[in-house]
């Protein structure tokens, strides 16, 4: 009898389940706009400056439309992004639905392949975008933005970096929406001044300072390259920075394009310059053996111990989010990684996010154009952690002196080059380059072997 009752209850439960399923599945429908995929989409629209899509959006023509975005920033960056576009959304009535994923790099290819491309995708690696542009999946932004307008908003070097080979000739694969300067050496301002050290202006002075700090009893540098599956990337940044300082920008471009092999003496020389500091156990906190096992985000922390256990840390502007709690803008400062050979001046290594468009609709064009303006970044800049690539951002927007100087540094640098490992194809840039450097630093292989191993990535 009781068993029978239980059966009834079981069946009733199943029936209820199925009903709820049906009901909720109808409610959970997301709106999936039809997307004209393949995306050349020049529907006879000629680029004009008067009455641009952005102007139309500001007039409320696209009210109620939704533009989907997909990108790698999550957490704090996601909140900052949403905050900075809020004013635009309220003004125009366009809803920018941002979706952030830690697995952006892996997912975007599946999404585009599966016909589920977002309207706009945010690529931190132009190298990854190149593939989509080549297949004609991404829309050429020049179909709706004029040369004059783009030249007004961006410096030439930015525009050049956004130009990529498309299906038929070179196209502008996307627009630069935010950037971050990488050639920065961070230090603990108070301790540095108290110890009487001075900011070095040349590589020799930097080495002298390193030696001085070692004599005083501390390792100068704190270096860590562990980063999970991406272990090794901080080492590639060092090599790129030194490359820019020991050879011509043309050689750097060739190297990034794969025309100058890793086994070339120029590259070898750069890595050796790095090793002079890295492999001297008196210069590095924890010694050479700890470099490959220290998480990059933790490696900056010894600078702010009391007394500091290390003094210098070379890393991009974003590292401030890794500083220990309670460290304010008064406690730290940075200087540019000094020039090695005077004739190459003071170069800047940068990274940044390029926004590419996959679905060509008027409201998406309007949003893309909005992202070329400084307004789209304003709140983000004020909250810290980002440098604007576009020209129409006032320096007073930056929250503190350190970030303002980064923007100035970008404007005054002799050469600006994008992070090479992010521009190389994935098999090298985020494959053998990371791995080869890690092997070399941890001492598993000798330099020549490591470099030829990295080079094999090009053949894949």
């Amino acid at each position: 009898m009781t068993a029978m009752k239980r059966n009834h209850a079981l069946i009733a439960l199943i029936v209820i389940m199925m009903f709820t399923m049906l009901v909720t599945s109808c409610g959970g429908q997301n709106n999936n706009q039809p997307n004209n995929q393949g995306g050349q989409g020049n529907e006879g629209t000629t680029p004009t400056t008067a009455g641009t899509f952005l102007d139309k959006a500001n007039n409320g023509e696209y009210k109620g439309k939704k533009v989907t975005m997909f990108g790698p920033f999550t957490d704090a960056d996601e909140v900052k992004f949403n905050e900075s576009v809020k004013a635009f959304e309220e003004k125009t009535g366009i809803d920018i639905a941002y979706e952030g994923s830690k697995e952006f790099e892996a997912t975007i290819a599946v999404r585009v392949g599966g016909g589920n491309a977002p309207d706009i995708a945010d690529f931190p690696q132009p190298g990854l975008l190149k593939g989509f542009v080549k297949d004609g999946k991404a829309v050429d932004v020049k179909t709706f933005l004029t040369d004059d307008y783009l030249k007004k908003q961006y410096n030439d070097s930015w525009l050049k970096m956004a130009t990529m080979p498309g299906k038929t000739g070179d196209v502008m694969g996307g627009i630069w929406a935010r950037s971050s300067v990488k050639s920065l050496v961070w230090y603990n301002k108070k301790a540095f001044t108290e110890a009487g050290y001075e900011v070095p202006n040349t590589w020799d002075e930097l080495l002298k300072l390193t030696e001085q700090i070692a004599k005083d009893g501390d390792p100068a540098w704190s270096i860590g390259i562990e980063s999970g599956a991406a272990t090794g990337w901080p080492a590639t940044d060092w090599v790129e920075d030194i490359m820019l300082r020991t050879t011509t920008p043309e050689n750097y471009d060739k190297w990034v394009a794969g025309e100058l092999p890793f086994t070339d003496p120029i590259v070898k020389n750069a890595v050796e310059k790095m090793s002079e500091i890295w492999f001297n156990n008196e210069y590095v906190y924890g010694g050479r053996k700890s470099i490959a096992t220290t998480p990059f985000g933790d490696s900056v922390k010894p600078l702010f111990d009391n007394p500091p256990k290390a003094w210098l840390h070379r890393m991009g502007g974003f590292i401030t989010s890794f500083f220990p709690e309670g460290v304010t803008a008064d406690d730290y400062d940075w200087f540019p990684l000094p020039p090695i050979e005077a004739k190459y001046g003071q170069p800047a290594l940068i990274s940044g996010d390029i926004y590419a468009m996959f679905n060509d609709r008027p409201e998406v064009r309007a949003v893309m154009q909005y992202f070329t303006t400084g307004d789209s970044l304003k709140t983000w800049i004020q909250s810290g952690g980002v440098t604007a690539p576009m020209n129409d951002v006032d320096l007073s927007t930056y929250p503190n002196d350190q970030e303002r100087r980064m923007a100035e540094f970008l404007k005054t640098a002799t050469t600006i080059r994008f992070d090479g490992s992010d521009t190389m194809p994935g098999s090298v840039g985020s494959g053998t380059f990371w791995k080869g450097m890690t092997d070399y630093v941890s001492g598993t292989v000798q330099l020549d072997k490591a470099l030829s191993e990295i080079q094999t990535g090009w053949k894949k």
Binding site: A3, M4, R6, N7, I11, I14, M17, T20, M21, T24, S25, C26, G28, Q29, N30, N32, P72, F73, T74, D75, A76, D77, V79, K80, E83, A87, A97, E99, G100, S101, K102, E103, T107, V110, R111, G114, G115, N116, K215, D216, G217, D218, S227, G228, P295, G297, D298, K301, P307, F318, S321, F322, P324, E325, K378, T379, Q382, S383, G384, P399
Partner: protein, 362 residues
């Protein structure tokens, strides 16, 4: 004689089991302890330091002359050491000499003493459940604190995904298993072999084709879509599992039911389902755990829009764009573990209770 042999082998099995349990348990314990420790502490000391242990403690400082050359042998209290030795620490009958601060030329004399760490915090759990807070500077210069979302929303999203994604495949698979086991129809064997063969097809190969279909059907990012996906990916194993259990039931039972005029549906709902509760419970646990912990399928078909984002994705995003908040993972892991544990313990008794025993006797 035989008894002692048996006892011996039992003892061996138990020891092996105990070791395996320990190997699994210790890291989990470490994770649990770490989830209650402040992030800075986790970096400094291992979790086992919360137990009483003997540690080097400074009893005296020795100030060396400021101009001591670190690259020459160094005199401390009349004895000579090298810098290397002082970095690693030199043992002198129970005491240890080690640099406190090389820059200040300060050497510590340390002794081993009992110590224990008692700094614990609930902050990790608070952040994980309540969301982080982000200071945002507004255009007018004022600073506003934006509160991120905690795990509450994604918890319910995960429930909404997991429960139907467990029930649907098991329901369908039980029907199918009954048919494969007790009904005679043409092509029965072939179909069954095909289903078993599907077990070895990795689900990754189906991602892009299914995504294309979903896009054209508008199923992307919907709960219904992900239920279908999970159900389809889970069906081969569940069918096979249920078949094994249902085909073992005694034939006499069904024959007598048929005699009494029962239809197939009656037999299935009145006899098969109650009799295979242990099997249903165990495969439910498997399927539920798989769906609950799934990352890949929801990443592709559900995405991470906040209204549908499941917990595994939320947790991955918690660490921040550059992994700066890794310490939250400890607490998040335990929060996400609670439900599977509850499900496991709720269904566990069915493993033990064999319903079949005595059922034939009537």
């Amino acid at each position: 004689m035989r008894k002692t042999k048996l006892r011996k082998s039992k003892w061996l099995v138990n020891t092996v089991l105990a070791i395996i349990c320990l190997v699994w348990f210790i890291p989990t314990l470490g994770l649990l302890i770490s989830s209650f420790r402040p992030a800075a502490d986790i970096l400094q000391t291992g979790w086992w330091n919360i137990f009483p242990h003997r540690e080097w403690m400074t009893v005296e400082d020795i100030q060396l002359p400021k101009d001591t050359d670190l690259r020459q042998p160094i005199q401390v209290n009349g004895k000579t050491f090298t810098d290397q030795q002082l970095r690693a620490g030199v043992d002198l009958d129970g005491e240890r000499l080690i640099w406190e601060n090389r820059r200040a030329r300060l050497v510590n004399i340390q002794e081993k003493k009992w110590s224990v760490i008692t700094r614990f915090t609930l902050q990790n759990y608070k952040t994980v459940l309540g969301g982080k807070s982000y200071p945002i500077t507004m255009p007018d210069g004022s600073v506003k604190t934006e509160r991120g979302s905690g795990m509450g929303r994604s918890f319910w999203n995960t429930v909404a995904v997991s429960v139907p994604a467990t029930v649907i495949p098991i329901l369908i698979a039980s029907f199918a298993a009954y048919a494969f086991a007790w009904l005679r129809f043409p092509g029965r064997r072939t179909f069954f072999v095909v289903i078993v063969a599907l077990l070895v097809v990795p689900l990754q190969v189906a991602l892009i084709p299914i995504l294309r279909d979903y896009t054209s059907l508008g199923l992307n990012g919907t709960y219904f879509g992900i239920w279908l996906a999970h159900a389809a990916f889970g069906l081969p194993l569940v069918t096979y599992f249920m078949y094994n259990s249902i085909s073992q039931l005694p034939r006499d039972l069904f024959e007598s039911a048929f005699m009494d005029g029962a239809t197939n549906f009656t037999i299935f709902s009145r006899l098969i389902l109650p009799l295979s509760v242990p099997a249903l419970a165990s495969i439910s646990i498997f399927q539920f755990l798989w769906v609950w912990n799934d990352y890949l399928v929801s990443l592709i078909f559900l995405g991470s829009q906040p209204e549908v984002q499941v917990m595994s994705m939320k947790i991955a995003n918690l660490v921040g764009s550059r992994g700066n908040d890794w310490h939250l993972l400890t607490a998040a892991a335990f929060v996400s573990m609670i439900t599977p544990l509850a499900v496991f313990f709720a269904l566990q008794k069915y493993f033990v209770r064999g319903l079949l025993g005595g059922s034939v006797k009537g």
